[in-house]
Symmetry: C2
Subunit: 674 residues, 2 copies
């Protein structure tokens, strides 16, 4: 495939970094790296620095082992302290100042190098680049849903970069470039294969594939990234020839121990297993009358001697619901399955909880498991790949969604307890935590299909590292690094990103209701597409109103899963955040929102606004022709056209749907097809 250099190198397109009076000062430090100690990770750090200096300033970098008699970058690692920390200081040694990057591990030092390069890209001077950073999120993980045949579940950026045709990829250059990219934003863990493990994917944990896999994991190791694998809970049956996968069965336990031992022979720093069990027809411990804790702990016991982790997904619900029974509520099910197990998981088990209680809709409340689990390691699962958010055809900057979730005050114990404090372990003193994002990457020349979707990959990593950053700060960083800090296009693109989530929400699913999508592929509107399904995904629209009553008073009682102060807010129609109104309440179309609009008129309005918003995005984009990389320009342009068509379809289908249901016309007389 033809590669756009800028598009392929993403935010590490050093050659496009603008140089001016501020960051030009780096040039004098850049020609020398002092590295008293050597390690593969520090070598990678030095290599990255050298590459950057060559591309930014056209200078060669020399590497020394002691502090030289000239300006330089000193890479230093003080081992011993847990966590990830680094400092960047300009040491004013006369006459040869130097920049000291000190990490508590080699990986942190590497992060310091990337931070310094980012500072250059953002146009900072060395003095402005001084920083001391300490990341509390231990796991900053990417989950790839890649299949061995090369397809990617919910992938919108081409084929897998790890697998093709049931072989492990040998395109090590691309994998190294990927490792550089994600390490540069602090990612330190990766799962290579789909959580739905089937056919050849089952055998990934066997000697058939481990030798080839180890070549990939070595590359990631050099960038401080531990590799995980998704496993099939029924592997003892599928691979081991056993007649059960019962976690309490001795032979099953032994089989897993043996399997884990073999894996570590090939991958000494193997991260552990990611498991989707008893979910959407996947096998799991329920088959054997065992709990998820028993299932997870059995795997944890096998991994423990090697320092491995079990990451166990909480996306467990009955996917054979009866739409007729309004008392059933999929939103309640993760909590119902896992809250009773709080405290029963081994210390090397981590529960992976989706940000919301449903499934990556454009707007959901935070999962009530956050705040409910107090004695269990937990990480939040976010979806970077845009399954329900436009599939990388439509522009949708997702960082605001994750940021909202991190900032959500669970009000656990009646106090102020944001989700971010639960994930980083400070609130409940859990020993593992962090975030996992489902990757949006494939063999696309831009990695992410839509070049602007790189902002989500970048943003996910940055937000994991510094949850205090605002969505806009992250967007500004990404546009500056990608298009040049001095490029006026960067500000315009930041504006596009910042508006994009609201625009997408406007033309799709109003007020938290979700699920107006076409079944199966999940692109484009079908208001009733999931309405009578078995998936628990309903809106209950009739000729009078719409929404899911999840109150304790008259509905499914989902609100009670939140701590009382949060529950009360959602329970009450008047205090419920309006953008989640239909998630929590069934509301008549005549209901007046705070701005005075009726609910129906709000639906009409937002859908017109949403389409108009895309028109504006395209207008802005048109002004960028010639101002940015041509291939990025053309690719985004093409996708904005697709988005415009999608938004038009959404606007008209949703408006017509509600017009047909109510017979009530738009108050502003805009065109609604009958």
């Amino acid at each position: 495939m033809e590669k756009s250099k800028n598009g392929y190198e993403c935010w590490l397109s050093y050659g496009s970094y603008a140089v001016h009076s501020g960051n030009r000062e780096f040039q004098k430090f850049g020609g020398c790296i002092s590295m008293p100690r050597e390690s593969p990770i520090l070598t990678a750090a030095a290599e990255e620095w050298s590459r950057a200096m060559r591309e930014i300033f056209s200078i060669q970098t020399e590497i020394t082992h002691s502090l030289p008699e000239k300006p330089c970058i000193l890479l230093e690692t003080n081992t011993g302290v847990p966590g990830d920390q680094f400092t960047i200081r300009v040491e004013k040694r006369q006459p040869f100042p130097y920049i000291r990057i000190t990490g508590n591990h080699d990986t942190s030092t590497l992060y310091g190098v990337f931070e310094l390069l980012r500072s250059i890209g953002l146009g900072k001077s060395p003095a402005e680049a001084e920083t001391s950073q300490n990341c509390r999120n231990e796991l900053r993980m990417l989950d790839h849903w890649d299949n061995m045949d090369g397809s990617i579940e919910r992938g919108y950026a081409g084929r897998s970069i790890f697998f093709h045709n049931n072989q492990v990829s040998k395109d090590f250059r691309r994998i190294k470039d990927y490792a550089r990219l994600i390490a540069s934003v602090g990612i330190n863990a990766i799962t290579l294969n789909n959580v739905n493990v089937f056919s050849e994917g089952n055998r990934l944990i066997t000697e058939r594939y481990l030798p080839d896999l180890s070549k990939i994991t070595d590359i990631f190791s050099q960038y401080g990234i531990r590799t995980f694998l998704s496993v099939n809970f029924a592997s003892p049956l599928e691979l081991g020839g056993l007649s059960t996968a019962d976690p309490l069965n001795q032979s099953v336990q032994n089989w897993w121990k043996q399997t884990v031992q073999t894996i570590y022979q090939f991958i000494p720093n193997f991260g552990g297993f990611l498991v989707k069990a008893d979910s959407e027809s996947r096998p799991g411990p329920y088959t054997y009358g065992r709990s998820h804790a028993q299932g997870a702990n059995m795997l944890a016991d096998a991994l423990k001697p090697f320092g491995g982790l079990v990451i166990w997904r909480c996306f467990v619900y009955n996917c054979h619901l009866d739409w007729r029974d309004r008392s059933l509520d999929r939103a309640k099910m993760a909590y119902e399955n896992f809250k009773p197990l709080d405290g029963k998981f081994n210390s090397n088990v981590i529960l992976q909880i989706k940000n919301g209680p449903m499934d990556f809709q454009i707007r959901e409340p935070v999962s009530p498991l956050f705040g409910a689990l107090r004695s269990t390691n937990q990480i939040m699962e976010c979806q970077i790949t845009q399954e329900y958010t436009g599939q990388q055809k439509d522009l949708c900057y997702l960082v605001p969604i994750w940021k909202e979730a991190l900032d959500f005050d669970t009000r656990a114990d009646g106090g102020c307890v944001p989700v971010s404090h639960i994930l980083d372990g400070t609130q409940f003193h859990t020993c593992h935590g962090g975030l996992a994002g489902v990757a949006n990457v494939g063999d696309s020349p831009f990695w992410t299909g839509n070049p602007l979707a790189q902002a989500n990959l970048y943003g996910f990593g940055r937000l994991c590292w510094q949850p205090g950053l605002s969505s806009e700060e992250i967007a500004k960083e990404w546009t500056a690094l990608t298009f040049g800090s001095e490029n006026p296009a960067a500000e315009k693109i930041t504006g596009m990103l910042m508006k994009s989530r609201t625009i997408y929400e406007n033309y799709t699913c109003p007020l938290g209701i979700g699920w107006f999508v076409n079944p199966e592929h999940h692109y484009g509107p079908s208001v009733d597409g999931y309405e009578y399904s078995r998936w628990g995904t309903y809106h209950y629209a009739d000729c009078k109103g719409i929404g899911v009553d999840r109150t304790v008073a008259t509905g499914t009682g989902f609100t009670a899963q939140y701590p009382p102060q949060a529950a009360e807010i959602f329970e009450n129609l008047k205090t419920c955040p309006e953008n989640l109104l239909l998630f929590f309440h069934h509301v008549p179309y005549s209901y007046r929102l705070k701005n005075g609009e009726t609910l129906l008129q709000h639906i009409y309005n937002t859908h017109f606004y949403g389409y108009d918003g895309v028109v504006k995005l395209k207008e802005i984009w048109l002004t960028l022709k010639g101002k940015i990389d041509g291939e990025i320009y053309e690719e985004v342009f093409r996708r904005l056209d697709l988005q415009l068509e999608d938004a038009r379809e959404w606007r008209d289908v949703v408006n017509t749907y509600f017009y047909r249901k109510t017979g009530i016309a738009d108050q502003l007389g805009r065109k609604i097809y009958p």
Copy 2:
């Protein structure tokens, strides 16, 4: 796969034929066949007779070449007369009477043998079996939508019996059994492969596959069945390395001539090509600015020297419609594409027209092309495989649908012109005609998945041969032959078959509206599933009414495609057949039907009735336990359970849909979920 003998042998389960005083008389004739002439087809006929005698009467049959001095069956062919005719006469020669079967061709003689065996199965005496039959439908064809990989498009009975894993099948026994089955009901033409020709299917017309194919076509030939192949109109590009498939291009024409020559080297009685062109994104002559006549005639020229035919499908429509534009009407498109070409097709081109203007819905009016085309060979395409009619899980006896179409009076020229007279050529003196049915057969142990779906395969053939038979007569024949003419179960099953179409219609799509199905796979309800799609498949339900206005006065004007007297009937709300009301008119829910019900109440009623009907089908079936072949019993029982679940889903989804849309309750207070 385990085979149920009765289920596998279908209506040729001679061993299950009941023997009693009437048909026992055949025993004395059965021991000898006199066959003055030999031919492969006559040999097949004698073989069939011998097999039947062995299985029915446990007697061996001797074959002689002159008329023997004992009772016998005389097989005689008087060649020369066109068409398919045979007579069966009991010749009272003393002291040794014999039964004379005289066909105008060997194939007709074979049909006579099958007719005689059918008479035995139906319990007739030799005198009652006397008959003289003359079939006017020249082509009685089955179209298989089988892919080279073994899958079957819209197949619900297992994998292909012709192809697997991109190879032509070598299971000749099964193919011979299939040839016997379909020849026994008069089928004389078959297309082996899917009309959507892709990947390896493109090469079926090359020397890579022709040698293997010829082994199959030889088997069919022995039963008087000519084999056709579906071809990709773009074959000159796909296979020939040409840069165009323009039908007026000399190289293209030569390529097809060469290809046809090669085919006839391997398959001397090759039937010809079936072509889906310019339809649902298939290539076709429109790509080159040519008409369908130019496309078809080019192929016809290549086939002409060998006596081959081009069967050209009229299922051509714009499949990128805009639901917003109510003036667009897919129902009009076949007519619009082909009516202007009437008279422009070569004499060996036949247009294949679906029975209705849409696509095999449970109820549609007859395609207006019948009656409009007067100088064009035409056959009617029926769908035996139950794509939209329950997919062989649900019981749906389809003969009534085809029968209604055959009997429909087109009122062409203001006279009484039933479709059947157009198809058999008597009306417009066209030189080729008949029917084609999309087969419902796979490698299922019952051939058709649901054993009762054999009735549709049987019925299609019988109806082609004798369009004057009633649906019930055909059902009675099939049940008698399959379960025994003396078996009380046969009458009950006939009753089930006869009620099944109404039951299915009741719980699915009311009054001709169609398309309430789940997109893509087409099983189960989704009322809005196709409502905002590009496929031209709308119902326009809003809070006040439902239906497609296809009138000239206020609608799409589709009615004008019928001859004036027919058009007038459909145009007028009061004279339009009520079972097609919503196909032709947009009607308020409060509209009173002739029985006094409102339209809405009719929808509710029929959906309750439909489900109740399935309950009754199951009750009847339960009484048959032990009375019929056990494997057939169990298989149908299992499917009736699936049907019950399907009917319940349909009933509740459709009723809830309209209740939510109108807010009007059922007058009888039955449960409609809110």
